[in-house]
Symmetry: C2
Subunit: 187 residues, 2 copies
DNA sequence: TGGAATGCGGAATCCTGATTCCGTAATTGA
DNA sequence: TCAATTACGGAATCAGGATTCCGCATTCCA
């Protein structure tokens, strides 16, 4: 009830280019963070800036697209690898380990997560789901006695936020940070 | 052996203006972080941009001047209020509490500290002293049995880095974060 | 195959903010 | 008080990057 009746099928090269842009952006953002120029993304994608802007109308939109994808992956991991299988009392620990792994290999994502885990302000569905999953992970950990009864989602969000910062700025061993944090949540 | 013999005394309004600029910068950086325009600093200081630039040749120099001052204050607090007086085993805890207090009221500083506590790269004397003091605080805490024997300066630096991020991005209660961290360092 | 329709490339344009320049104004020392 | 010296204000200039525009190339469908 919205699109006019007869409409051509979108040109095949158009979607191919969209994929190329996304892939280039993913790689560049992962390596350098979001401090990358649009023209550079276009160049790596083998595309003109005009094309890039037709796919993603603003720099912001491109970043959001990439971040949303990664966030969804993290949520999926939490559900499938942490909550669904294995020892539930270790679910939270496995999650933190995975988050660290991902952020250590994706500078851009560490920037997003650092901010996203902060205030509960609206930031799109993917980030909201991330918050929700954290809640489930805590429940599991609490049930298993791995953390104190008074641990809240806010606590874990702070830890994830801190973890992101540590990974981004520190040369040191982030696993050590997660160990300390988890130990601190124990009764 | 450096300055030519006869030289006038610097104009009094010149130093007054320098102070005004520093004060304006401190206030603005504390409230908004370093995302403030030079012209805004000048306006608040009641001075022209030209004057501002004569005192601090680049934006970077101005930021550095403000940050160095604050860093020195933190080091002084650590020595005088944490190491010199009170229960030594609580020195680290008191220090973290103070850092949180300062960062919570100074957005710019939280940005600096988040980065500064990361790599041990050269960042000027003030930051170097901060690292040194952290070492002393750990020794005191270790001696008092407040933290495990294997806790290192790198551990605490990560925690401070994380704390800065938490304060900057989170609406939540950063004291809770320090409690968890300190608890995590206990044996 | 032919001519719409849809995309493409990338130079040109716009914007935001840092930094420079220079004609004036204020301060100093004799 | 007066010339010399030092500083000031703020418009003009520069620079880095995001975003727009439009003539040309491709792809689609009858």
């Amino acid at each position: 009830m919205s699109t006019p009746p007869t409409r051509r099928k979108p040109r095949t090269d158009a979607e191919r280019n969209r994929d190329r842009v996304l892939e280039a952006a993913r790689a560049l953002f992962a390596e350098h963070g979001y401090d990358v120029q649009m023209s550079e993304v276009a160049r790596v994608a083998g595309v003109g800036v005009g094309t890039l802007y037709r796919k993603f109308p603003t720099r912001e939109a491109l970043i959001e697209a990439v971040a949303a994808h990664r966030s969804a992956e993290m949520v999926a991991f939490a559900r499938e690898r942490c909550l669904a299988e294995g020892d539930p009392s270790q679910a939270l620990a496995r999650f933190l380990g995975h988050v660290g792994e991902v952020l250590a290999g994706d500078r851009g994502m560490s920037e997003v997560i650092e901010q996203a885990m902060g205030s509960t302000e609206p930031q799109g569905e993917p980030r909201a789901k991330l918050h929700a999953v954290v809640g489930e992970l805590i429940d599991a950990a609490r049930a298993g006695g791995t953390v104190r009864a008074d641990v809240t989602a806010a606590d874990v969000n702070m830890i994830v936020c801190g973890l992101a910062a540590v990974i981004r700025h520190t040369a040191g061993d982030w696993r050590r940070f997660t160990e300390i944090a988890l130990n601190g949540l124990r009764s």
